[in-house]
Subunit: 250 residues, 2 copies
DNA sequence: CGAGCCGTTGATAGTCATCAAAATGAGTGG
DNA sequence: CCACTCATTTTGATGACTATCAACGGCTCG
């Protein structure tokens, strides 16, 4: 394998969900791509646009968002390194939401048509892509529950848990981690106001469920935080790891 | 074509999103299936279960739901005739949510493995299935926005608009329609309480945005209702119809 | 005709939004 | 290296929207 191929993490991720034949991996690795370094705030897709590229996030973070008629924003998904940003549009012709960089980062742009062709010519690739989008849908369902039926404290604890577990599953975190979002963004993912998010965070800290210095977050009591957020990792459909023992967030 | 094949509406629906070759349709039509008549309240899948069948809704309505730790329920999606209930689980091994009949109705059960095989052996079938799940994901994104960033009145108006448009796109409605859900269920889809739903409905009626006798709903002012619900049909990714003219909800 | 679900109505309380402004930290340029 | 600017975080006071509790009326169905 090409050492440190830009798509390595992405393909590793696909593979963990549904093992691919070597030929399938090679086909993916062989796709022509274009690497871009992007600043925080850059749009990867805009709602209403016709997607022509399909970006994979190499490093940095991004989020999906929609804006309502009166201008308020809702963040709809968080993208972490290894995520394909545009699989959601692979078979749709106009994007129904925007994707924006949350931090500085790097993406690899594939041609959307290349990936479509691959999905059609290699059924196994089509199937992993399908499975990947199904997992994203599962996360969306949990988010509907989160904003629909949980109070502010639960919502925020839940998002923190989810984020930590997803990061860890990709080997991107050990112990505490750097929360890449502002409190305003956290508010937009939980359907709250920034002011209230701030108060809830302080509450969680006061109760010993989180520790924070600046944006560095730690979880002194992982059990309790999960409970406070009504969090269970099932909906993430993570592959069973043999090494749950070594997990900080098991 | 077999006249009135049980899967007719389902396949017609797939076809409208991504045209299938005759052979592909025949392969779908040829799958062994089992027809069941179900009572209101019957579970089609339960959260945590391993799906072995993949049901297609022939008539009647159903909904997806999740329950939080403290027992409150959130409805996550509405299924209407022609929807495949378990495409969401086609490549996932344990269901992350439940599906329950909202009304009496009929389903056709396919074997999950049959459909999986078809998706793998016939790329075009895999692609439509993929596209169908992408559309469901798009609807979920809009629902996150709905419960996250809209007030009670907007939420309810939005759900009414969405439901009407989806029904109409399948030729299931003309003018007014029968709302198949109780106010409690409407509350669980909007993240509100039944009591408040009732008040908002009365408000919408008082303002001339809806008319209702029992559960029969009509929209005297479709424009205004859409506006009240901040509704735009883009996210439904409906195929462009030539006949928008004849639509009550264009 | 009774039972039970569903819809309706009223009164009260709580969670969270809103408005405003100060404090902190980061990044920039002189 | 320090002053400056701007984004972000923090704090307080007030009010709105929606939940909660309780009870009654109306359908539908067995």
């Amino acid at each position: 394998m090409t050492p440190q191929h830009p798509l390595e993490r992405f393909i590793w991720e696909l593979n963990s969900h549904r093992p691919l034949a070597d030929a399938d991996c090679q086909a993916l690795l062989g796709l022509p791509l274009c690497i871009r370094k992007l600043d925080h705030g850059t749009y990867l897709i805009r709602e209403g646009a016709l997607p022509v590229t399909c970006s994979v996030l190499i490093d940095g973070f991004a989020f999906r968002q929609k804006v309502t008629g009166d201008g308020s924003r809702q963040i709809i998904a968080l993208c972490i390194p290894g995520d394909a940003v545009d699989l959601q549009n692979l078979f749709l012709n106009v994007s129904d939401h925007s994707v924006q960089m949350m931090t500085r980062g790097t993406v690899a742009d594939l041609k959307r048509s290349d990936l479509q062709d691959l999905a059609l010519s290699r059924p196994a690739v089509g199937a992993v892509i399908n499975k990947t989008t199904l997992i994203e849908a599962s996360i969306l369902r949990e988010w509907v529950v989160n904003v629909g039926r949980r109070d502010a404290r639960e919502r925020i604890a839940h998002v923190l848990c989810e984020f930590a577990v997803r990061l860890e599953a990709r080997g991107l975190v050990s112990g505490g981690f750097e929360l890449p979002m502002t409190q305003e963004q956290l508010a937009d993912t939980t359907g709250l106001t920034p002011v209230h998010v701030n108060r809830v965070l302080k509450g969680l800290e006061a109760d010993g469920l989180i520790t924070r210095q600046r944006r560095h977050i730690q979880f002194p009591d992982w059990r309790a935080l999960q409970q406070a957020g009504d969090f269970s990792r099932h909906y993430l459909h993570l592959p069973d790891e043999g090494g749950v023992e070594h997990s900080s967030f098991a």
